[in-house]
Symmetry: C2
Subunit: 199 residues, 2 copies
């Protein structure tokens, strides 16, 4: 026996989201039915519909925006000669919320991952090269994840930029703040040792 | 810095759901943007809007339905003299999917929980008494959860039905199937011992 159609429909929709299986989807759909007002449910639905209608990626950096170019790319007070390369829009927001970086970004929309069939052409590497080739770029900061995929991507981009005259840097690896040596994996400790600085 | 409005709106909507905090909501909203087609997002939204529009509770048992009475209450092949009392629609579906019970249901929509201000009047106890008073009910099976709230509710209903001539039963407590004695809590083992049957 299945739930009534409107509930089943919503369950299927929830199951399309990552990390949400049948049981969780049932719980969420039933909760939405019992605990949300009709207006709230309508609003939720409308928000979903607006999502793809009003939003697109910035043609320069790949950030999400409702305007023709994103707020960061159109901000003249930022340093447009310094590009931080991140894998996802989420990473961009993590960096941005630190409030420290005043350059601009380049969102790759993923990382090279040959085992899952994601190659060089599948992520936004070519537009990055275009931006560097256009000139006036002094530094490219590689802020990919410290994973196999992220490292592969960083190395590949570094190789491509070897002939350009801009500085290519990457984020430091090491012990996380508040991290206990005994909890860190060997590779992290090794990187922390390699990257040690004068105290 | 916040995400663009359509993403922030969807994040707020997701955060209204139980067990979904800001981080998960961000992940889901960004996933929905990147991995769903416009049609899919529209469908998800429409499903939410339909939820409250097309669905209501069965006036007899409290189950969810799109019709005037639910499929179970309008099924003449079922035993309408046997009512199983459950706390939620979800519990009804759990029972129904066992395929064993051929009576009808009564959904309480919660359980008595004085610490959270849920009293006798807040759940569907009165309509249950009405159904019993109308007659032709031979058995009321209390299938509330084996929690303090569920037990309180069961006991309260049992007291109310003491003067009626219908049989009041409750689900058995005991070791879960496949359960190891050493993993069961003391109360469960105690109930299993109390409820032991001839082998």
């Amino acid at each position: 026996m299945n739930y009534p159609r409107p509930i089943e429909d919503l369950i299927s929709s929830f199951m399309r989201l990552p990390g949400i299986g049948r049981k969780t989807a049932e719980r969420l759909a039933l909760y939405a039915y019992s605990n949300m007002s009709e207006d709230e449910a309508k609003q939720f639905g409308q928000n979903f519909i607006n999502l793809k209608k009003n939003l697109h990626t910035c043609p320069i950096c790949g950030n999400l925006t409702e305007k023709s170019t994103c707020d960061i790319c159109s901000d003249s007070t930022r340093n447009h000669s310094q590009i931080m390369v991140v894998e996802t829009v989420k990473d961009l927001f993590i960096m941005e919320n630190l409030g420290q970086f005043k350059g601009v970004y380049h969102v790759l929309n993923g990382a090279i991952d040959f085992t899952n069939g994601i190659g060089v052409e599948d992520i936004r590497i070519a537009p990055l090269l275009e931006r560097v080739k256009e000139g006036n770029i002094s530094e490219v900061i590689l802020a990919c994840n410290a994973t196999l995929q992220g490292e592969t991507t960083s190395r590949y981009i570094k190789t491509l930029l070897e002939d350009s005259d801009c500085l290519v840097t990457r984020l430091a690896h090491g012990l996380p703040i508040g991290g206990d040596l005994s909890y860190a994996d060997e590779m992290t400790v090794l990187k922390a040792l390699e990257g040690r600085i004068k105290y």
